[in-house]
């Protein structure tokens, strides 16, 4: 290791220590700030995403920009209440314009959102570029509202974020039930006499609070990411609104802390984008690797089921093959099985190996390995009982459909092909009772059971058929 490397490692460790020991004043401000922001945006995001308002959130966050500029112009300084008031007014004006456009014109919602988003944003840019040319404009670097600049936040900003975060948490707790009902069933909420419009405006106001107080940290363009991504991640983890809100707040907080830590390590890592990308990474990990709803585990479960079904189908094919020979032999050739299962020879061989591994069958290889289709398969006792169970399920179901549901006999096979793999013992017993233990399926074939085989019933049948 050369000196530079050692140096950078020491630097990394000391920076990590400085960040997590939480003793540095600037670190305290930053961490508290992102925690408040993550929780506030996460909670509001839960409502935004479940109400399908994600793009409203995006529009609102762009629309506050001219308000920020006017507020700054008014007070001629940053960190002031006038910026928040200005942003609030601009945000509400934007939302009001969208609903006005919806009401008075035929313009689609998507275009209306786009019009307000880009129009307000343009006014904001106009004002900001103008302010930069003025005397007091240079001192502030008001640009920070576009991308956010976490190192620039002050204690008073953190106070504002804290107050808005606590306000959001309190109001969501107090009005939880009402917000839940209005979010999912507007008509019902109206009919039980809830003040739907008031709740709607309350939500807009809280959303505006969350967006505006976060601007300093993350900027107008990316704040909507912080509304959407943690809540979207939470919606994969849970379906319950209460849990969703908790998860969303938690994930927003975690993304904020990790993101600000990473950006603290480097000199040229902008905090806003890093927080968003951390959040996206958490989303991707959850989407694929969540133990219940993750796509990977869903896929694995599906694959497991598919393999089980293939196995059962092979067993059934063996049974049918034996039945076709009137049970005169006790082994089947793989070539015949492959033909019946409509699979290629190598695939059939794989399935046979699978059966052998599960101790359901024995494979008797032929001497001439150039003829794999001549290999024969014999069922073990366990295999026999499993094969009988599947065939029995299939034929019982066919009989049930013809006798009890009045299906035509030639329409029942497809349905039974699917259901035979999922019928549980209890259901089978029930069907047996309803049909009073039948022996023959609608096509006149035997409905087998293990006992039949053990008691030599099939041999008797074979003998009877031969005679």
């Amino acid at each position: 290791m050369d000196a530079a490397q050692v140096n950078s490692e020491v630097n990394l460790i000391s920076k990590t220590f400085r960040f997590f020991s939480f003793s540095d004043y600037s670190v305290q401000v930053v961490v508290l700030g992102v925690i408040f922001m993550g929780v506030g945006c996460g909670l509001m995001g839960g409502f935004v995403v479940t109400r399908k308002l994600s793009l409203f959130g995006d529009t609102l966050s762009h629309a506050v920009l001219p308000g920020v500029a006017v507020g700054f112009l008014w007070s001629q300084s940053k960190n002031s209440i006038s910026i928040i008031v200005g942003a609030m007014i601009a945000g509400f004006l934007g939302v009001f314009l969208i609903s006005l456009l919806k009401k008075t014109t035929r313009i689609g919602l998507d275009s209306a959102l786009g019009l307000v988003l880009s129009g307000f944003y343009a006014v904001g840019i106009c004002l900001l570029t103008r302010i930069q040319k003025m005397e007091f404009g240079n001192q502030s670097g008001i640009d920070r509202y576009l991308f956010g600049q976490i190192t620039g936040i002050s204690a008073s900003d953190v106070w504002a974020m804290g107050i808005s975060c606590i306000l959001i948490a309190l109001i969501t707790m107090i009005f939880y039930k009402e917000l839940l009902v209005t979010g999912f069933d507007h008509g019902f909420a109206h009919s039980i006499g809830l003040p739907v419009d008031f709740l709607q405006y309350l939500l807009w106001m809280l959303l505006a609070f969350a967006v505006i107080t976060s601007l300093q940290v993350i900027g107008v363009i990316l704040v909507s990411a912080l509304l959407i991504i943690p809540a979207a991640t939470a919606s994969i983890i849970t379906q319950k609104m209460r849990n969703l809100l908790v998860w969303s707040a938690l994930l927003g907080m975690v993304a904020g802390v990790i993101g600000s830590y990473i950006s603290f390590l480097g000199s040229r890592l902008p905090t806003g984008p890093i927080i968003v990308l951390t959040s996206t990474l958490i989303f991707i990990l959850t989407l694929f690797f969540h133990s219940q709803n993750g796509l990977l585990f869903k896929w694995l479960r599906l694959r497991g089921k598919e393999r089980k079904i293939a196995l059962e189908n092979t067993l059934k094919a063996v049974y049918q093959e034996l039945e076709g020979n009137k049970f005169s032999e006790d082994s089947v050739r793989l070539g015949n099985l492959a033909k019946r299962r409509r699979v290629s020879m190598p695939e059939m061989y794989q399935e046979a190996i699978h059966l052998v591994k599960k101790e359901l069958a024995f494979l008797i290889p032929v001497k001439n390995q150039n003829l794999p289709s001549e290999n024969t398969l014999t069922l073990s006792p366990a295999g026999w009982s499993e094969a009988c169970r599947i065939v029995r399920n299939h034929r019982l179901w066919e009989l049930y459909l013809t006798n009890e549901v009045q299906y035509a006999a030639d329409h029942v096979h497809e349905d039974a092909e699917k259901i035979e793999h999922v019928l549980g013992d209890e259901t089978v017993r029930k069907i047996e009772r309803i049909l009073s233990n039948p022996r023959r399926d609608p096509h006149g074939k035997l409905i087998p059971s293990r006992q039949d085989i053990e008691q030599g019933f099939i041999e008797k049948m074979v003998a009877k058929n031969l005679s």
Partner: protein, 315 residues
């Protein structure tokens, strides 16, 4: 507040830009750039709006950012072709991600859209900040563009003949491509935009046309982002056709309307910016907003005041 609005010096604002031949050439390039950007965006935007894909346009305009950044890092130049490849790749990836998320996961379309484009945008901003200041492509320029720098860009020469500055040339090419494609495939574009079922039954390749339009959108955005920025592009896409829809209901009329509108936007924006000394691109959108406001109020088709007036006459 008085300080904010400088006194309007008519001569300085309206005449001085054209007084000397040097100034004239300089400023005419800016105005031409503005006209061509809003014309090409307006034409393609009419179809985007009719298909209710305005927010998809928004998403793609944000989503191409990482592609542009990677192309720039790889080639160290702003040449149109690599930028175009990068942007198209990122744009298509972005729209693919959105569709995949909306179809294969429990997420709804709006959340899928918002999640994808903000993530892409964040990645793009991160990449651009890594390039440092030596790159002539900075974050602010991407956000609100610098149309005023058009005459400063290196000019492209063919043999010994100087043809024109690079951004002007690329947007010119794109405008010609768009106009010719719309002229050739007008019928197909029109039918697929308004009646999906009919176009399927007519045997039109609906998906190909959709992705073709997306590709065209990506080209337009690449050619214009440098001058108006990725977010104002969306304004240029939506404003012309929605404004025109207050005057006309037929597609050809709306398409032709983007010609006078783009001239108004460009000149108006130029003068407004000269007066207030602010961003030209943003001023263009402010002018577009004013035009939209006037059309919304007084447009013969669906204007608010017009409707009120008609109602009073009826009573």
């Amino acid at each position: 507040m008085n300080e904010f609005f400088p006194p309007l010096d008519l001569v300085d604002t309206f005449w001085m830009p054209w007084a000397t031949s040097k100034d004239f050439i300089w400023n005419a390039q800016i105005v031409t750039m503005g006209i061509m950007v809003s014309l090409s965006c307006g034409l393609i935007g009419s179809f985007i709006v009719a298909r209710k894909l305005a927010l998809m346009g928004d998403a793609i305009s944000h989503g191409i950012l990482p592609g542009l950044a990677i192309a720039f890092i790889a080639t160290q130049s702003k040449a149109l072709f690599p930028m175009f490849i990068g942007a198209c790749g990122a744009g298509l990836l972005c729209s693919f991600c959105i569709e995949w998320l909306a179809k294969k996961t429990p997420l709804k379309m709006d959340a899928a859209l918002g999640l994808t484009f903000t993530s892409f945008f964040a990645l793009g901003v991160l990449l651009i900040t890594q390039m440092g200041n030596h790159a002539h492509i900075d974050a602010e320029c991407l956000l609100y563009g610098e149309i005023g720098f058009t005459p400063l860009a290196e000019s492209i020469t063919w043999g010994s003949i100087e043809i024109g500055s690079r951004p002007l040339l690329s947007i010119g090419t794109v405008t010609i491509i768009i106009i010719s494609i719309i002229t050739i495939f007008y019928k197909q574009l029109l039918v697929t935009s308004f009646d999906q079922t009919l176009s399927v039954s007519l045997g039109l390749p609906v998906r190909t046309i959709h992705y073709g339009l997306m590709l065209l959108l990506a080209i337009t955005i690449v050619a214009s982002f440098e001058s108006v920025g990725v977010i104002l592009v969306i304004a240029m896409l939506i404003f012309p056709s929605t404004t025109a829809s207050f005057f006309f209901t037929r597609m050809p009329a709306i398409l032709f309307c983007s010609i006078p509108l783009s001239i108004i936007y460009s000149l108006g924006g130029f003068f407004l910016a000269r007066w207030l000394d602010c961003s030209i691109a943003a001023s263009m959108v402010v002018v577009a907003m004013l035009c939209f406001g006037i059309a919304w109020a007084f447009g013969p088709e669906d204007g608010v005041v017009t409707k009120l007036f008609l109602k009073r006459n009826q009573n």
